[in-house]
Amino acid sequence: MAVKALKTAEFDGAIQGSHVAVVDFWADWCGPCKMVSPVIDGLEKAYGDRVLVAKVNVDDEHELAARFGVSSIPTVIFFRDGAEVERKIGVQTAGVYQAILEANL
């Protein structure tokens, strides 16, 4: 499965429908986002069967970016049972994201 690109309308349903979710807020014009993107793909490969791995394009989905107060990208937000549990702003290594997922599974 590929990383799911979430739109505003489907966001809440998707997040609430999965025990643990990780969402990468990104945009085309952002070099650091391009570095994080393959790391997120890797999370999908390793955890995709247990975790919703998704991304939100902040250029297309202003509302979501504003609602979550995304003030710098990339921002990766972790949800558990529909509620935000942690967020990481800026480029991080795979290990950082994995540790958060492991702690919330």
């Binding site: 014009w29 952002c30 070099g31 650091p32 790391v39 003030s71 710098s72 480029v91």
Partner: protein, 272 residues
């Protein structure tokens, strides 16, 4: 495209590293701020570089640049903001672009300027180092740009172009950033502006910020005789590795770092 070696910094150390990578017939990209913003540009006269007595800083930089260009070195103007190591390659972000290479030579010179009060706490909460990355999130809102040269002015006009209301601070002596949980205002040299975001566009980044986990000693990057740092495939040269802060030392170290990086790329590259 992927390079054998990517050099961060186009001063004497970086250019020397680059021509020595080319001497091994490997592909090399130099990413750097514009030449006119190099510290050496300000040197009126250099008398201790062998063979070129009485040369000015701009003359020396131009001559070195021409040499590198003739040797087939590729150039990209811009500032490196982040790096990441993944599966035997280094990924480097430059504004809205990304490049990759098997090995890196860090030759960014000395990074002057301490962090401002509030900067660390509010990083990612309104404090940003990248106008192209985060500008769009502040369309129609008041932002501050703290700039040190022409490239920062260009980024400020980019922000104005996309609809940000920009207050520009040119080379301030001191600033502090205020806000609880997110940026609310910035004060530079006694002048305060209420803003939602502060873009800090310093010409350089501290080496440890570019490379998390990089070992430093006394404020300088720690290297061995091969100019290798503690990180795999990352070599360093020039002012960033320590005293004396001089051109001849930067050029010599650049040669070693360039050769080491080329050799590393041969051993660890993706078989190009």
């Amino acid at each position: 495209m992927s390079y054998d070696v990517l050099v961060i910094g186009g001063g004497p150390a970086g250019l020397s590293a680059a021509i020595n990578v080319r001497a091994r017939n490997k592909q090399v990209l130099v990413v750097s701020n514009p030449m006119e913003e190099s510290p050496l540009w300000k040197a009126e006269q250099i008398d201790n570089y062998l063979g070129l007595p009485g040369v000015t800083g701009p003359e020396m930089l131009r001559v070195m640049h021409r040499h590198a260009q003739a040797a087939g070195v590729e150039f990209r103007e811009g500032k490196v903001l982040n790096t990441m190591h993944m599966e035997n390659a280094w990924y480097v972000s430059i504004g809205s672009d990304m490049e990759s290479a098997a090995a890196i030579v860090l030759a960014g010179g000395v990074s002057r300027g301490k962090k401002f009060p509030g900067e660390e706490e509010l990083l990612g909460k309104g404090v940003s180092y990248c106008a192209t990355c985060d500008g769009m999130l502040y369309r129609g809102r008041p932002v501050a740009v703290v700039g040190y040269g022409d490239s920062a002015r260009k980024e400020a006009s980019f922000l104005e172009g996309i609809g940000c209301k920009v207050t520009y601070f040119h080379r301030p002596g001191s600033c502090s950033i205020q806000g609880s949980g997110k940026v609310e205002s910035i004060t530079c040299d006694g002048k305060t502006a209420a803003v939602d975001c502060v873009f800090l566009l310093r010409p350089t980044m501290a080496p440890t910020e570019l490379f998390p986990g990089l070992a430093v000693e006394g404020g300088y990057v720690k290297v061995d005789r091969r100019m290798a740092t503690n990180l795999p495939g990352v070599f360093a040269a020039g002012d960033c590795t320590g005293l004396p802060l001089q051109v001849a030392k930067a050029v010599g170290e650049g040669l070693v770092a360039g050769q080491s990086a080329a050799a590393y790329a041969v051993q660890n590259g993706q078989g190009r």
